[in-house]
């Protein structure tokens, strides 16, 4: 097994932060290396060093046994190291061909040589099993999965030797994920070295051959995936044994607090009806685009409801977030960057924004009173931050999500609508959130939990419903579902029973 790329003793400081401490990595040819670590462990910094965006303070890199010192991302790509990021770097209005050849066009006497480009693009797409794609198609007309293929093709055309995938499946549907794996296996067979960064251990098991774990900027373990268990990997990531990935808190469902009756949105959802009880955690699963987020947003009054009834504790509140908040609903958006949180405001501001009334004395805000309350909430939710006046964008993803959840609790919500609350969060914080959900249910709150991660749904929820094409197909107690069942209902829209 030849080693394609090595990084030895790479260190990088940013001012006072020691992001990487003597990290070493070896990428073998024709294999997939999983790079595993919590948020903040140093994975992105390491990849930035690899792609030339940062120069390391100390350490060396070699590519195909030659010294590799890229001066920037373009130089890295020319040398044969390509990065595929979670947010795709494509020009939406340009065609597949234009995007693939962007920065590496073929020209004759200054004019674009379209025939040569066509040939090259065709070859690359064929290698990836997509020879049927028409190169003139504008990229924005493609699905996310196919857009990713275009980016991979671009890497191939630049004669990549090593391709790094950074969280490629976070926003992909199940089908597309399998598809991506097929493409990666093809790349393997061509002799490329693949680095695969992901939070999803099942995916890593399915796809990767070897692993390297980072924690707090240090390499803490590497080797063949065959010789290590998931618990051991998690232990390496977190630095302690996580007793339970999914801590259980016993809770009993009580009376019905929320009733949906044939709820219809502008286009989706269609005819969604279900009941929610106090002290219950209801999971909602389904493919991307099935209407889960849309259903929550209609329920919360953010999007227009065409028809249908929403009854909360025997009253039907009007269709605005303000009214629904007053009725006891709390909503945690799936997009904490652009909607869930005001990134440029402080933790205190974000936490209290939905309910400032308790701090108003004679028309003026009592900021010191608010300070005390916010400090209490931060303690309860274990938000790790230098102070409550820190801007939210300076927190890690997990802590940001805790602030978003804390806001919903601070406003006194009795019914929580959580849309992908554990997306992009490290393992340790995830289990804290699961425990929190159990505790809230035990206190009598009702929770609707939308997620694409079936393992967590089945472990945490009491009942799970599956949505497909805008409709809620089936709800069963969690114990009566298997992951395959859920998938088949989500995909085909029909129950497997």
């Amino acid at each position: 097994m030849t080693t394609l790329l090595t990084m030895s003793a790479i260190s990088k400081r940013f001012g006072a932060t020691h992001a990487l401490k003597s990290v070493s990595l070896a990428v073998p040819a024709g294999k997939v290396l999983a790079l595993i670590g919590e948020n903040g462990a140093g994975k992105s910094t390491l990849m930035k060093v690899l792609s030339g965006a940062h120069a390391p303070d100390t350490g060396e890199m070699t590519l195909s046994d030659l010294p590799y010192r890229p001066t920037g991302p373009h130089a890295a790509r020319l040398a044969g190291v390509s990065m595929i990021y979670q947010e795709l770097n494509l020009a939406p209005h340009l065609s597949i061909e234009d995007n693939i050849m962007l920065g590496q066009e073929r020209s004759r006497f200054g004019m674009l040589d379209r025939s040569a480009q066509r040939r090259i693009v065709g070859e690359a797409l064929n290698k990836l099993g997509h020879g049927d794609l028409r190169p003139e198609t504008p990229v924005q007309a493609l699905s996310v999965g196919l857009q990713q293929v275009v980016e991979i093709a671009r890497a191939l055309v630049s004669n990549a030797k090593v391709i790094v995938f950074d969280e490629p499946t976070s926003s992909l549907a199940r089908d597309d994920v399998q598809h991506l794996f097929d493409v990666i296996r093809r790349l393997k067979s061509e002799g490329l070295g693949i680095v695969y960064i992901s939070h999803f251990l099942e995916e890593i098991r399915e796809l990767c051959d070897c692993y390297a774990v980072l924690r707090d900027g240090e390499s803490v373990g590497s080797g063949d995936l065959g010789g290590i268990s998931n618990e051991q990997i998690v232990a390496l990531m977190v630095g302690r044994t996580v007793d339970e990935l999914f801590p259980q808190v016993p809770h009993e469902p009580g009376e019905i607090v929320l009733k949906l009756d044939r709820l219809c949105g502008a286009s989706i959802p269609k005819d969604v009806s279900f009941d929610l009880r106090r002290g219950e955690i209801l999971g909602i699963s389904g493919l991307v685009g099935a209407g889960r987020t849309e259903m929550l947003r209609c329920l919360f009054g953010l999007d227009e409801t065409r028809s249908g009834q929403v009854t909360i504790a025997a009253s039907a509140p009007s269709q605005s977030p303000r009214a629904r908040i007053a009725a006891g609903l709390g909503f945690v958006s799936e997009d904490r960057k652009t909607e869930g949180l005001a990134q440029t405001r402080s933790i205190a501001d974000n936490l209290t924004l939905s309910r400032l009334a308790p701090y108003v004395n004679y028309g003026w805000l009592n900021l010191s009173q608010r300070r005390q309350e916010v400090a209490r909430w931060m303690r309860v939710m274990e938000v790790k931050a230098a102070s409550q006046d820190q801007f939210v964008h300076e927190l890690s993803g997990g802590n940001q999500q805790k602030v978003a959840i804390a806001r919903v609790l601070h406003q006194g919500a009795e019914i929580l609508l959580l849309d992908e609350p554990t997306r992009g969060i490290d393992v340790g914080t995830k289990s804290q959130i699961y425990r929190l959900m159990g505790q809230l249910a035990a206190e009598g709150k009702a929770i609707i939990f939308v997620s694409s991660y079936l393992t967590e749904l089945l472990a945490v929820c009491d009942r799970v419903g599956v949505m497909s094409r805008g409709r809620l197909k089936e709800i069963r107690p969690a114990s009566e579902w298997t992951e395959e069942d859920i998938m088949s209902v989500a995909v085909s829209g029909e129950s497997s029973k």
């Binding site: 303000r322 958006s333 909607e339 405001r345 939905s354 108003v360 003026w364 900021l367 230098a386 300076e394």
Partner: protein
Amino acid sequence: MGVSEHSSKQPSYWSTLSSVLGPFLALAAVILFFVIADWLKPGADTFWTQQNFLTIAVSTATVAVAALGMTVVIIAGGIDLSAGTAIALCATVLAWGLKTDVGAVFHRGSLEQTSKQVAELESKVKRLTDDLKKLNVLGLERGQAGKRSSLEVTLKTEQAALDGAKAEVARCRAWTAPTAITLSVLTGCLCGCLNGVLVSTLRVVPFIVTLGTMMIYLGLAKHIGSETTVRPILGSIPDWLQNFTSLLEKALWRGIPLGSWRGVPIGVWLTFVLAIGLAAILRYSVFGRYVFALGSNEQTARLCGINVPLTKIAVYSFAGFFIGMAGLYQFSRLSVGNPTSGSGLELRIIAAVVIGGASLSGGRGSVVGTLSGAAIMAVITSGCTLLELKNPIQDVILGVIIIAAVCVDQVRQHRIAR
């Protein structure tokens, strides 16, 4: 004032503190620069004088007051290009109100008539007094005594009538100015309200909406002024308003120098009072929190149950109040209502806010910063004049500073979106 809450130690603190203090330090640096330049220049040192600073303060007062309102709009993520013409509209409304005596609704008298009466009576009294004097000088002759006493009686009656008429004029005047001023400030609020309604109901960016209202207000002002400058009767302008932003020594009235307190014009004091009030509102009121939230992330604000359209209308209307006040200042400086006197002001107003550290994308801004920004512009203008630098150079310097301020903001934004 502004957003910073604590002394610095943490990264967020530094960022907020520097964005508030930064413009202030820049102001100090600019002042220092001109003081040194002035000292190096041959001739008397005229920059570091009370007179000079008062001149600076007064010349920038209109822009500063309007910039206070614009700060709120920009923090909320909007912008108001109609500020300049709205100020001219308010000033014109004020002039028109004084000229046509809108206070008549309340005092039910006629200022014009009574003023005429006063003029007539004054000339009568003057004539009578002269006649009486002639009689006295010429000495008393037989039969003249009766004439003299009848003259005296007539004089007394006419004098009493004159006093009565003057009192009536004063009574009317007491109504005219306040009514006209209220009307003018109300116009400002309405202009703002219209902006707010259009911005929140139409799906058009504030830049374009206020570009349109800018022309509408210009047209309105010209219509009210009948396409010319509105000149109210000098007598109808209350003295305190005339001296509002004036630096001249004015006659004492009952022993109090009109229009200034401790040597500083009332207009300047009022600017500070308004600034302090606004800073308190931004920091300690729910409305202030909503303004920052709206500018930082409108979707988050909506998600938290904030009534976004209503808040936007409130923001622009609130800014309209400051526009109305600025119209007051504008009128005080010109003593006439000139419908075209506002064009171009909006750019200086926005420049003051931007130099003061506010971000055009919303969510950041401070009162201290805005005042510093306005002051910086005025200091540069004044300093350049003192150094006898030509006007074009001043404009170029100002342009460079505006670009620099926006660059600083961009760098900060860049660091956020990592």
